[in-house]
Symmetry: C3
Amino acid sequence: LGIVTLTTDFGLQDEYVGAMKGAVLARCPGAVLVDICHQIEPQDIRQAAFMLAAVVNQFPTGSVHVVVVDPGVGTGRAIVAVRGAGQTVVAPDNGVLTCWIAAVTPEKAVRVDNPHLHSPVVSPTFHGRDIIAPAAAHLAKGLPMAALGTAMPCRDLYRRADLGVGTTAGGDPEGIVVAVDRFGNLVTNVPGAMVDDPRMRIWVGDREVGRLKTTYADADPGQPLALIGSRGTLEIAVNQGSAAQLLAAGRGDSVVLRRTPR
Amino acid sequence: LGIVTLTTDFGLQDEYVGAMKGAVLARCPGAVLVDICHQIEPQDIRQAAFMLAAVVNQFPTGSVHVVVVDPGVGTGRAIVAVRGAGQTVVAPDNGVLTCWIAAVTPEKAVRVDNPHLHSPVVSPTFHGRDIIAPAAAHLAKGLPMAALGTAMPCRDLYRRADLGVGTTAGGDPEGIVVAVDRFGNLVTNVPGAMVDDPRMRIWVGDREVGRLKTTYADADPGQPLALIGSRGTLEIAVNQGSAAQLLAAGRGDSVVLRRTPR
Amino acid sequence: LGIVTLTTDFGLQDEYVGAMKGAVLARCPGAVLVDICHQIEPQDIRQAAFMLAAVVNQFPTGSVHVVVVDPGVGTGRAIVAVRGAGQTVVAPDNGVLTCWIAAVTPEKAVRVDNPHLHSPVVSPTFHGRDIIAPAAAHLAKGLPMAALGTAMPCRDLYRRADLGVGTTAGGDPEGIVVAVDRFGNLVTNVPGAMVDDPRMRIWVGDREVGRLKTTYADADPGQPLALIGSRGTLEIAVNQGSAAQLLAAGRGDSVVLRRTPR
């Protein structure tokens, strides 16, 4: 199909995303380029990791997904291509793959270290354009993954330890807010299945939000509620309002599931 | 042709637009996706309605236009597909179609209620991805509109009453500012034809802007002027400056056409 | 190939970019549209000129590049199409081509003044949609450049005098910051080759940044450094930080290369 998606922390004020697209099209003129998001907070690997896992399965089998959130550009961290569930991701091996890997069980991985497939000149500060985009283009054109570089065991892929759901001192499941969306909804890392218990009450900091509901209109206007968001994870929202504002909460804040009153 | 345009209030900080594009491409891999705007103010149906009417006719016959500004997601409001003047729009039936419908006279409408063409799992908070994008993909692939769901009379489409030009107590035509663009131009809902009278003077609040001119350079630098903007409607601008700033005006503000001094 | 790139100062809050894309697709349905950047500061010809030169050569031969930063829209300035090094640029002749022309030596230029290829109705305030986008579409479809209008000598193309590197009173090479990127890096107009001298020390205002290094990690965290950025020009960065913030510097600020202590 030749679909290549792009998720970066480049923002849109510079030519960086456009330059990457040129690098793809120069090698695979028929590629279909799709922006996922370029407003990842600079160097926020966690945010990128959750977002990648949220979108990959929306795309048809055979798509290639590029992630460039790369605080270690120009240092020793590897760039990898990983295949799983019919999709391929090309990214720095710095943890951005953690959530997607947990969801799909990867089948195959290579280090993208074949210099013949990089740009003739590799900028030490822009591997996205000079190594990652060319690799994605070659994959979109149908080049076997093995040609990109050295095979590596999938178990060696770097995974961040802090991306799962933990437990409070009291033994209650505790997740975090991983994104605040444009509407002020608090998107968490808590899988929907964990909240599927009518006794469970959701707390954001000191504030109880109540039991799980289905959609925004299940709360009165201006009132907060918990629901399963479009990522399939727990989300805290306010009907016709902003949960981030009402609850004074943001990325990194704790969300706790309690079966008993606090 | 397979062109699908997207107009939403999702912003660009989240993966929502990318997820919708995946949902289109998964069903119509050859679709050509075009972003119109994703910075509609959250839930501002009026702004979306005017923008949709301003761009549809730029696209070739057979294009499909998706609008997702949907305060009622998860409630009873219908999602509709409407055909007119060779173009098809898929959107919540909440008023976002008002201006386009007024311009083209729609020929055919259906409720997008055939669940076999929705995503297998429909998120109660993201009908854009799970109902609207799949419908647009099927249309772009050539599926007849009737397959999407139940036919409805075009006269039943919901239209907002407050999107036309009104009249002041004194009998003068009165429009409103419907958008402030990046350059600070005040874009109004007043059709250009209404201003085509050399005696007509344009007022923004308490300030007279004068008679209609043709282009920015017809005013001295820093001075305001009225002209017909690129939407074909009355626009207030400042040569080499910002009308919004100079006139302290913004969306929703009144613009009055007077034949006699006030 | 039919690739058309877009660089404008339109921002993304309005429908202007989407309308231009419609105008291209209406005339060349197979065009592949690529956004370079729409966040050029309003009417900042200098920023656009440097950005254009930085990306054109990333794209395959035969691509068409549109630039719309056009303070003179509606006045007498010409719109031109220029071919060089296998690429074609369509833009107002107001200086935005200066850096690209300096890099490639243009081979052929025409004034885009054949009204039969414009939109049937040309808005006096939106030549991007009504003249430039149609011209790009015709080129992408394979129309010979000569059909767009009157041939002109390439030497008559307007070039801004202030885009090169100057000299301080003391005889040292002096460039300027032409962009501050999302990460706070200061991108300059100083060609990398000029800094390729181990005695050379780089100054931003009153602050010495030291000798040229290779990548961000060559400085301690929080410390500034000079390197050759992804455009191939001198860039001032801070490892894991923002040079713009640390050095309180921004666009237009002076960057001096000194062989001797100040």
